[in-house]
């Protein structure tokens, strides 16, 4: 009897399998992972693990969980093809597995740097990456990081804390240009500089040599070069199977792809959000979308109706002593207003559209972040005037409205 196959054992894939088992004790669940380790948490890799000589790995589930839950977890197992017509997947070893429902959770892969020497730069995505990068990072004296997004900033700040001489090379005018409001990106950039990081903004990278990076601002010495220039969805299997894709695998609000027996979740899925389509790389998205799709699949199997995905996105980034937390989906195109009460190392910025709160970015201000998450989850209009009336205290506003 064929059941449900999940391709990919990252955060979304593992959570989907666990949720499926909670909802249905009988259904056959097969979880396919191309990696050799038991499934693990990815965020700590760039936030802590790579800076620790022990290279700690944090498992998503205990060793015995999969067996106990009767989930057929196959490690080192690469999928060669999805065959929607006979509802099967072909493994790299030639085996064929049949499904009634398939969940694609293939995540993303790091972009490579298309410049001479680019292949020598190391990225941080899998545990295998930090196994090879970690010891080099500890041994290095001068480290150059290319890319000023979350991963680049996290690795740069962590390397700085280790006492390395750190150069952060950013194409844009500041760190986190697309991730947070400009005023916060500027602040983070200047805080990293105050801590002794060499942040090169507006910097175009020409080539990577054995002893550093050639840029339009001159040669940056480094005995280790790390990239954090983003990731692209792993679409190959879906595209070869004829599924509709764009930046990600296109799904409807219930998580279903253009094939009614195939779902996509997590970083790889592009879903309806607001007036458009959205792909999100986050733990919140992986957790919530996988739980919803698991419930929808079981509901469909039982002839019941399924539910739509209506997330309140949130993100976080740990950069040395800076903790950034974002609630809602901000945008450079929105209006940004800073709340009074910030300090040298803390800040709260509200993203507004027509005077209404759309998202909130915080630096070292966890109370505001959690309140913003709660306020956005209410799905009621929150105006700047309401925030002002509460003395710019988002917690107070939440407690009033709750």
């Amino acid at each position: 009897m064929s059941g449900i196959i999940v391709i990919g054992a990252g955060h979304a894939g593992v959570n989907a399998a666990a949720c499926l088992r909670k909802l249905d004790a009988e259904v056959s669940i097969t979880l396919l992972s191309a990696e050799r380790q038991l499934p693990y948490h990815r965020p700590p890799l760039s936030k802590k693990a790579v800076f620790d000589a022990n290279l700690p790995i944090e498992m998503l589930q205990a060793n015995g969980f999969y067996e106990k839950a009767n989930i057929d977890l196959r490690l080192n197992c690469t999928v060669a093809a999805i065959n929607p017509i006979d509802k099967s997947v072909t493994l790299a070893n030639g085996d064929q597995l049949h499904y009634q429902q398939l969940i694609i959770a293939t995540g993303t892969r790091l972009r490579s740097l298309p410049i001479p020497g680019g292949e020598s730069a190391m990225g941080v995505y899998t545990y295998a990456d930090i196994e090879s990068l970690g010891p080099k990072l500890l041994a290095a004296e001068k480290v150059a990081i290319i890319g000023g997004g979350f991963i680049g900033c996290e690795v740069a700040a962590g390397a700085l804390k280790l006492g390395k001489q750190v150069s952060l090379l950013i194409t844009g005018p500041r760190a986190l240009r697309r991730a947070v409001a400009p005023v916060l990106g500027e602040k983070v950039t200047s805080l990293h500089r105050q801590n002794g990081m060499h942040v090169h903004t507006g910097c175009k990278v020409h080539s990577i040599k054995a002893d550093g990076v050639e840029t339009d601002q001159g040669f940056v010495e480094a005995d280790l070069v790390i990239t954090g220039i983003g990731a692209d969805a792993n679409l190959d299997l879906a595209q070869a199977a004829g599924l509709e894709t764009h930046q990600g695998i296109l799904v409807d609000s219930h998580g279903k792809t253009s094939d009614e027996h195939i779902y996509a979740i997590g970083d790889v899925a592009e879903f309806p959000y607001g007036e458009g389509m959205q792909r999100l790389e986050s733990i919140q998205n992986a957790t919530d979308q996988s739980a919803l799709v698991a419930a929808n699949i079981i509901a469909t199997r039982n002839g019941e109706s399924s539910n739509a995905y209506q997330p309140t996105p949130w993100f976080w980034s740990d950069q040395g002593d800076l903790k950034l937390q974002m609630a809602g989906l901000g945008s450079l195109n929105l209006e940004h207003r800073e709340l009074p009460g910030g300090t040298d190392t803390s800040m709260t910025v509200v993203h507004l559209k027509d005077e209404q709160m759309v998202a909130v970015d915080t630096l070292n201000t966890p109370g505001h972040h959690l309140a913003a998450r709660k306020l956005l989850e209410m799905r009621k209009p929150i105006t700047w005037a309401m925030i002002e009336d509460c003395d710019f205290d988002l917690k107070k506003l939440f407690k009033q409205l709750r």
Partner: protein
């Protein structure tokens, strides 16, 4: 070594010996304690590793700002002894610690 006992919502207990520096969420996950999800991987960003501390033989620092905020905002019915167990680290100062796993 510190002896850590988790009491699950179903009453079942899991007791493990822990090394210095380990946090309780990792211990719970590694030992299959039911009810601890640890969705954020121990980054103090969610509330899926909520426990109450029932018995402590030794000394333990209280919650930090982020943890206190999460307990205040994310936990439905926080207790005096509520903690996020990803922020509770085993040390030489603790001989044994007993916690109850809370929902959500």
């Amino acid at each position: 070594m510190t002896q850590v006992t988790f009491t699950q919502q179903d009453g079942a207990q899991v007791t493990v010996e822990a090394n210095n520096g380990e946090h309780l969420m990792k211990l719970a996950l590694d030992n299959g304690v039911v009810g601890i999800t640890g969705a954020c991987g121990g980054s103090c960003m969610c509330a899926t590793c909520h426990v109450t501390i029932d018995e402590l033989n030794g000394s333990l620092a209280g919650p930090g700002e982020m943890e206190a905020e999460i307990l205040d905002m994310e936990v439905d019915d926080p207790q005096e002894t509520s903690r996020l167990c990803c922020q509770v680290f085993v040390s030489d100062d603790i001989d044994s610690i007993n916690v109850t796993v809370m929902e959500g």
